[in-house]
């Protein structure tokens, strides 16, 4: 039942290849444009930053510059979708879906139009731009919307695959991307399917559930935990909505402890989604790391991850304490 996930053989090397997830999006969008002539791209004055530039160069007639107007960005996209197009919209996540949430709710989610909302520069690792530009609430905002699919790819290779698939999924979809380079832990051969979670590393003591680029930190944390005799299972959850309940519950049922990590508000975010799932179907001790009811601040990305205890060393400490303090709690369910 479990899909084999091929990890990058250089994963644990110091010079593992790094690339921002937005770069994978840029390649995927161009590829989707080649495959499907209905794909159009709209950007709110951030074409290079959000990596729509490759699509724009290849298909200038299907690229629409919207100016700094995020409400119009998504509502024009809704109209284009009604006319049979598959619109990709991009901006920084703090502006879209941050500024235009109601327009997304009414004209895309309720209206059930296959508009793709690409929010780049999510998370604290945006860095020096500071809290205004570090979007942390997007997962919560988008996963609460009926009809909406929510994705947070783990690396650039996966982001490229995700982009190609969401051009064809026929649904309103939000995809969260990062500004900063992060290690590529998957390979071209790794499976990716919207709605699926993947076990990257097997273990019996705790399920480390990660979304987006935090999955890399979990893989590194799992290696550190092994040195302390803890066998952590790492589950990568690139689709936050709908959750792959089968894979997640199977892992948690086995380990009896769940631990989530995300570069977002844990309240309402990915950790919130897992808490809801486990509360409904498999009550299990759960530890969530992420942003805990506070904003980010300026700093270098690596400094910020350490400061907010989202680097793999801090995560390993948290997970070790969690495993030490909390008995397994799964038998009988």
């Amino acid at each position: 039942m479990m899909t084999v996930f091929s990890l990058n053989p250089d994963l644990y090397s110091d010079d593992v290849k790094q690339e921002p997830t937005r770069a994978g999006f840029g390649r995927g969008l161009k590829a989707a444009g080649e495959t499907n002539e209905n794909v159009v791209a709209l950007c709110a004055d951030l074409t290079d930053s959000t990596k729509m530039s490759d699509f724009k160069a290849a298909f200038p007639d299907r690229f629409i510059e919207m100016g700094i107007a995020e409400q119009n960005l998504v509502t024009v996209a809704s109209g284009l979708a009604r006319a049979g197009k598959i619109p990709f919209t991009s901006s920084y996540a703090t502006f879209s879906p941050g500024r235009n949430w109601e327009q997304i709710r009414t004209t895309i989610a309720l209206n059930d139009q296959p508009v793709k909302i690409i929010g780049s520069h999510a998370g604290i690792s945006v860095g020096p731009d500071g809290a205004t530009h570090q979007m942390l609430e997007d997962i919560a905002l988008m996963r609460v919307l009926p009809n909406m699919i929510v994705l947070a790819p783990g690396d650039s290779v996966e982001a490229e695959k995700a982009t190609k698939q969401l051009a064809e999924n026929g649904k309103p979809t939000y995809m969260r991307l990062a500004r900063e380079k992060t290690p590529i832990f998957s390979t071209e051969e790794s499976p990716f399917e919207i709605g699926k979670a993947y076990v990257l590393r097997e273990g019996n003591d705790v399920s480390l559930l990660g979304t987006g680029t935090m999955t890399y930190q979990l893989l590194m944390a799992a290696k550190k935990l092994e040195e302390h005799g803890i066998q952590a299972e790492v589950v990568h959850v690139p689709t936050i909505k709908p959750l792959d309940e089968e894979t997640i519950l199977a892992s948690v049922r086995k380990t009896g402890r769940a631990f989530t990590a995300e570069e977002a508000q844990a309240a309402g975010g990915f950790g919130g989604a897992i808490a809801e799932l486990l509360g409904d179907k498999l009550p299990t001790p759960l530890k969530r790391v992420g942003m805990r009811d506070h904003f980010g601040e300026s700093g270098e990305p690596e400094e910020l991850l350490k400061h907010f205890r989202l680097d793999n060393a801090s995560i390993a400490e948290e997970a070790r304490r969690f495993v030490g303090d909390v008995p397994r709690y799964h038998q009988g369910f």
Binding site: V40, D61, R62, I64, M66, G67, A69, Q71, N72, T75, V76, A77, S78, G79, L80, A81, R82, A83, G84, K85, P87, E102, Q103, T106, T107, L110, N111, D112
Partner: protein, 299 residues
């Protein structure tokens, strides 16, 4: 003049269109009275524009609501949807009897329009300011992506709705791309919920604003069917700009005790929408065209 005659084999005269608009108003009164909530003034004052659009201007086929060659209508001020439902029913999209399900559980006629509920609706609207953008998106597709020069996108916005920033984002966008297949009617009835538009948030110089955004602007009597048809015709002839028609209307048009009074924008029975007694009086006035017809037989 649209292709209505080709599609349906009939062409209503101006007098017949006026009578049709009157039927739409009667439908609206009955719907609102039965629903027990909603909005009165806007739907009543838009009856002439919607009738002209659905019965004359637009190239549509009620039997094939998704016909690929159709013109598009998007209602940006979704709260006035009773007028759209009534006009669609009169036009043959669905039975007139279904109008009485407005706002009821399980109805296709939601309190604000939802595309996925009712064939023939092109969008979902209600929260103000986003319908114009959707119309602009569709018009962009026709003009730049589909090479469909023979199709048109018509939209209606309120005037209070123009307070929304999203409207001016759309206005700038349509101006930049010279979306000449986009034709917008503004229901300039001078009222919004909190009072006269000029007190709540002044809109003038309204013509100057749209002109400054690169639009072709016309101003008409929004109750004169011939003027509405002519304005649409003129707008279609403008090939290098989007068109806006500022349609001066009387809120609550056709029911004298509602006309000009912002308190009839909407609300509860007796205070915003007609209660049973008020509906009876209103229907009587509409049946006799406010006393101008002295004998029965018109309805």
């Amino acid at each position: 003049m649209g292709l209505f005659s080709i599609v349906s084999g009939q062409q209503l005269t101006i007098t017949q269109l006026e009578q049709k608009a009157n039927d739409v108003r009667k439908d609206i009164i009955r719907m609102l009275e039965h629903a027990g909530s909603g909005h009165s003034a806007g739907p009543l004052d838009l009856a002439d524009i919607l009738t002209a659009l659905y019965f004359n201007i637009m190239n549509i086929d009620p039997v094939k609501p998704d016909w690929s060659e159709r013109d598009i209508f998007m209602l940006s001020n979704g709260h006035t949807v009773p007028v759209q439902y009534a006009t669609m029913a009169e036009r043959g999209y669905f039975p007139v009897e279904e109008l009485q399900t407005l706002r009821k559980l399980g109805s296709r006629l939601q309190g604000h329009p939802e595309r996925t509920k009712l064939p023939g609706l092109e969008t979902t609207s209600g929260p103000l300011g986003s319908g114009l953008s959707q119309a602009a998106g569709y018009a962009y597709s026709l003009q730049y992506l589909d090479n469909a020069k023979h199709r048109w996108v018509y939209a209606v916005t309120g005037d209070g709705e123009l307070d929304e920033g999203n409207i001016w984002e759309a206005a700038m966008f349509a101006g930049k791309y010279k979306l000449s297949q986009l034709i917008v009617f503004i229901d300039r009835n001078n009222i919004q919920i909190d009072g006269p538009t000029d007190e709540v948030m002044p809109l003038e110089d309204l013509r100057g604003k749209w002109e400054a955004f690169g639009w072709h602007v016309q101003e008409i009597d929004g109750h004169n069917i011939e003027s509405i048809i002519d304005a649409a015709s003129m707008a279609r002839a403008i090939s290098n700009k989007p068109s806006v028609v500022i349609a001066h209307t009387i809120p609550g048009k056709g029911v004298d005790f509602m006309e000009y009074d912002y308190k009839w924008h909407g609300g509860a029975p007796g205070v915003g929408i007609p209660n049973q007694d008020q509906a009876k009086i209103a229907l009587e006035k509409l049946r006799t065209l406010d006393g101008k017809i002295t004998h029965e037989g018109m309805a």
